[in-house]
């Protein structure tokens, strides 16, 4: 299993993701530096969270124009699996690998808290095929610009073609604030047309231990990696 984590100036969650991957596979992932123009063949590339280039201009805008992105796009067109978490999701959108936009949280505040994700009825994808529609995962978020928006046309295309991976869900009847950022239709993550690219705002790498953070993130990453290798 050949995995790599892409690192940009300002990426923060690369170590966290590497720790999670090592826990699952027994091996640390390769590091791809933003200035690299070449990379070996890989099964899975993860673009981790953080504040690449300080979030300047727009979140992920500058990172999406880095030399390494060309390589990542080639990996995708070869059918490689690609996971973008939080800032990683923002970078995938800015790089036009995934459609739509991620804008400021509706309440205009950074938010760090637990969320409940509901697996949606989606196309075949190594990231979700081990789950059933309606399965729930408790995974934390921490972001300022996680509000996914799309025009009607795009929204229809995503919904009709099973490209919505997760939606934020109420964890109890009395909960009103279950969507942390006001995203359209509570969208928390979306898939590419071939299901092998997933962009998600929540941080699975922060949920890998029963003592703190829970283990739903570990479950998700483990099953994803099993499917990618398998």
């Amino acid at each position: 299993m050949r995995t790599a984590v892409a690192i940009f100036p300002g990426s923060n969650c690369d170590r966290d993701m590497a720790v999670a991957i090592k826990k699952i596979t027994g091996k640390s992932p390769l590091k791809l530096w933003h200035k690299d123009t070449e990379a070996p063949n890989l099964d899975l590339i993860v673009i981790p969270g953080g504040f690449s280039f300080g979030d300047y201009l727009r979140c992920g805008a500058l990172a999406a124009r880095s030399p390494i992105i060309k390589n990542i796009k080639n990996h995708v067109s070869r059918g490689g699996a690609l996971l973008g978490v939080c800032n990683g999701f923002q970078i995938l959108i800015e790089a036009n690998i995934l459609p739509g936009s991620l804008v400021r949280n509706k309440k205009l505040l950074f938010t760090c808290r637990e969320t409940t994700l509901e697996v949606q009825d989606s196309i075949q994808s190594p990231f979700l095929s081990s789950f059933n529609t309606g399965d729930c995962l408790n995974i934390p978020v921490a972001h300022n610009e996680g509000n996914y928006i799309a025009n009607n046309e795009l929204l229809k295309e995503l919904e009709n073609n099973g490209r919505i991976a997760f939606k934020y869900k109420k964890s109890s009847e009395i909960e009103t604030d279950y969507n942390p950022n006001g995203s359209l239709n509570d969208i928390a993550g979306i898939l590419s047309k071939n299901g092998r690219v997933l962009g998600m705002m929540p941080h699975p790498e922060r949920s890998i231990n029963s003592l703190y953070g829970g283990t739903d993130g570990l479950k998700f990453l483990t099953k994803s990696i099993e499917q990618i290798v398998g």
Binding site: G10, N12, D16
Partner: protein
């Protein structure tokens, strides 16, 4: 260097002016006194030019020289077996076992945060992080102690919003979790808010970097962001009271860039993996001045710098401006000669400026060249060693009036008081604040913010087969109204509460960093508050063997003569050997709650200086609750013993608001209920009875509530060790707090009030 006299045609006009002789008026304008100006002229045997004068004014400012407090800071206990580095360096260093060290410090950014709350607090966070990683430690956690004015004051919400955004803006971007702290509101801070930022980092014990310059001829290297005109005279602003014209000082506030901060952190830590860094210091208050002077002074050496080589981002900067600029995200280093090129590669990789700007000398002088002329040539000693140290007159005022429960005429039921307490922003949940901070980045946060009394962060890489590893516990504490009433007791209490919080989370208290925030030390009672609280802190710190290893003093927190409540914040760090044994505040169902440190027959609680008193009379009065250091130590050792024997499910210390508030906070998460055992003497009280109120809301010290599933074993251990205890009762799912069925106290209702108080005050978003 050109030896002929400088003429206007030689250099730009502003630099020419900077190199002209100064005068007394200019000295006074820079915050120096007449005596200080004369002292300077005598010490250097000439009248300083303006650049030289600027350098002196920065180094002699209260913020840099600690002239009003130094004499008393020297009396703090700073040594212990586990202390590797005490006060005097960029941060304190303690041994935490496994060949590792914890590096930590707390620092204030009060005045800039009042003027520009976002940037003021953001740069406060940036600065404290640099103080930690300059020692070779990767920062692993941030905490902050915030004090704002009355919630109804017109500026308060704007300040709260800006400060919280600024702390989050910097900490989140640089990727270090903000895991704890405290936020209080009081009208004494209306014109002077307090923003104290604390950072904790981890380093290898034998790879700590210090700031003393070494080796005449060694290169002096500048790295980081370019220098601009930010914050010139920021140090002198921090040392002066605010007046009407303070809003004109807006352009002098520094602007931080957390992205560059992150690059600088990574580049420095990468360079420190090699052996070429001989000494290093960050450029904080008074920028290049304080770093070059302090590094040279500590090494007993001098420096010769060429200011034309300093990377600048503005045109035509003078020697004065370059030396006093407080542009952020810059470090000064002394490297092994010959290593400059290799070091430069690392900084270029991270897109940071790297400039060789001069060398260490053995002249003991600071010599600065600009545009081919000597802009500064002064001896270093008078700047640091000979900086003034004042012995200001003081009077420690101690309020000895004991407030009795029947001094009150509240006519309020228990339920009403509880509602009022949770409607007070001082008690209510601060979730609105901490959700704006990323508390789980770096993947090691075990407990944080409202979940436990102290934050616990795992020490990366200490996992073993049977444990996730060791953890660092940290907290900040202070009860300013106690300090105002009696500075000595107030100082003691801050340390005691911090130690209780560390112990209640399952950790052992180790050491302190303190941020002493006070008003104008030239006032005899304010100086008394400083001296008194230092005395109290010393006594308590000695009792717990938690020496002070670093800290900061912020004085002149006054506006138009109105000063803040004396606020000596204690930042304490502790160690937990196995993070699995950490304790949160929430009780489980069917757990027994027991108060450690409370006698069976205790009935009259201490209401003097309590939040209960503040709710009833909108003010505080009387002596604060007394402190018995011996008992405090006992209680802390007891809870550690109980936890080592795995007898506890949770723990929460009793502080602001007293017993009933602490009980509610333990019941909230699971919306539990409790039938409270009342002492016999209170069994026939009615809900408005003041003696009962004093038992419920008194702020008597040295008490921690524990929750347990093994109450028999707990009680047996307590009896064996002669520890006072009181069994409150066993939790249930009724969600009602029942004291002899006097009131219907709905925990669900109080929980909702607790959760919504601050959001309803602060949320501007209307859906």
């Amino acid at each position: 260097m050109q030896k002929r006299n400088l003429e206007l045609r030689d250099i730009n006009e502003n630099e020419y002016i900077a190199q002209q002789e100064s005068n007394l008026d200019q000295a006074l304008g820079m915050g120096l006194s007449k005596d200080e100006f004369e002292l300077i002229c005598n010490k250097i045997n000439k009248i300083p030019n303006q650049t030289e004068l600027g350098i002196f004014s920065a180094m002699f400012s209260e913020h840099c020289s600690y002239k009003s407090s130094k004499k008393w800071l020297k009396t703090l206990p700073t040594k212990a077996k586990h202390v590797i580095q005490g006060p005097g360096e960029n941060a304190g260093v303690i041994d935490i076992g496994n060949d590792q060290a914890a590096v930590f410090k707390i620092e204030s950014h009060n005045h800039p945060s009042f003027i520009e709350p976002y940037q003021g607090s953001a740069t406060g966070v940036g600065g404290i992080l640099r103080d930690v990683f300059t020692m070779g430690a990767r920062p692993i956690a941030l905490l902050n102690a915030l004090r704002f004015g009355s919630i109804n004051h017109p500026l308060t919400k704007h300040l709260v919003s800006g400060v919280v955004k600024g702390i989050g803006g910097y900490g989140n971007c640089i990727g270090i979790p903000t895991v704890g702290g405290e936020t209080n509101f009081n009208k004494s801070y209306d014109g002077n808010i307090l923003v104290n930022a604390m950072a904790v980092g981890l380093a290898q014990k034998d790879k700590i970097f210090y700031s003393a310059a070494t080796g005449a001829g060694n290169p002096v290297i500048y790295v980081g962001a370019k220098t601009g005109r930010d914050g010139i005279h920021g140090a002198t602003m921090a040392s002066a009271e605010f007046t009407e014209s303070s809003s004109e000082k807006r352009p002098t506030v520094q602007v931080g860039d957390p992205f560059t901060g992150k690059l600088l952190l990574e580049a420095c830590l990468e360079l420190m993996q090699t052996d070429v860094v001989l000494s290093i210091q960050d450029m904080g208050a008074a920028g290049l001045t304080s770093s070059s002077v302090e590094m040279a002074s500590k090494g007993g050496l001098g420096m010769h710098l060429n200011l034309d080589l300093v990377p600048i981002r503005e045109e035509g900067m003078t020697s004065y401006e370059i030396m006093l600029s407080e542009s952020q995200e810059r470090m000064l280093m002394i490297l092994k000669p010959g290593s400059e090129e290799a070091a430069k590669l690392i900084f270029n990789k991270w897109d940071l400026d790297f400039a060789n700007i001069g060398e260490v000398t053995n002249t003991g002088r600071l010599v600065l060249d600009k545009n081919g002329f000597e802009a500064c040539n002064i001896p270093i000693n008078p700047l640091v060693e000979d900086a003034p140290e004042y012995d200001r007159p003081y009077e420690i005022l101690q309020n000895k009036k004991i407030i009795k429960s029947d001094d009150f005429q509240s006519n309020q039921t228990l339920n009403n008081i509880l509602i009022k307490m949770f409607e007070s922003p001082n008690i209510a949940s601060k979730k609105w604040i901490w959700e704006q901070y990323d508390s789980s980045v770096m993947g090691d946060t075990i407990l944080c913010n409202g979940k436990s009394d102290a934050a616990i962060v795992k020490i990366h890489g200490t996992e073993t087969k049977k444990s996730l590893g060791k953890g660092i516990a940290m907290t900040t504490d202070c009860t300013p109204r106690y300090v105002k009433s009696d500075p000595i007791i107030g100082g003691m209490q801050a340390v005691c509460e911090a130690a209780r919080n560390i112990a209640a989370s399952g950790a052992k208290p180790l050491a302190i960093t303190n941020n002493l925030n006070f008003g104008n030390p030239e006032k005899i009672n304010v100086m008394g508050e400083i001296v008194g609280s230092i005395k109290g802190i010393s006594q308590a710190a000695s009792t717990f063997n938690t020496p002070i290893v670093s800290g900061n003093v912020s004085l002149y927190n006054e506006t138009n003569g109105q000063g803040i409540l004396p606020t000596p914040v204690i930042g304490m760090v502790g160690i937990i050997d196995e993070v699995e044994s950490c304790l949160g505040i929430s009780a489980g169902n069917n757990n027994t709650l027991i108060i450690l440190g409370q006698k069976q027959n205790f009935t009259e609680g201490w209401l003097g200086c309590s939040l209960y008193q503040e709710i009833i009379i909108d003010d505080f009065d009387g002596a604060p609750p007394p402190i018995d250091l011996k008992t405090e130590k006992q209680i802390i050792e007891t809870i550690m013993t109980l936890n080592n024997n795995k007898l506890l499910t949770g723990a929460h210390d009793i502080s602001d608001g007293g017993l009933l508030i602490a009980i509610c906070e333990m019941l909230f998460e699971n919306r539990l209920g409790l039938n409270v055992n009342l002492p016999k003497a209170l069994m026939s009280s009615n809900s408005k009875d003041h003696l009962l109120h004093s038992w419920c809301f008194g702020e008597d010290q040295n008490r921690i509530i524990i929750s347990t599933n093994e109450s028999d074993k707990v009680v047996s251990l307590l009896k064996e060790n002669l520890i006072d205890y009181y069994i409150l009762g066993t939790t249930n799912t009724s969600s009602n707090l029942n004291l002899n069925e006097l009131d219907t106290i709905s925990i669900k209702n109080l929980y909702n009030i607790n959760e919504t108080t601050i959001p309803s005050l602060m949320d501007t978003y209307k859906s």
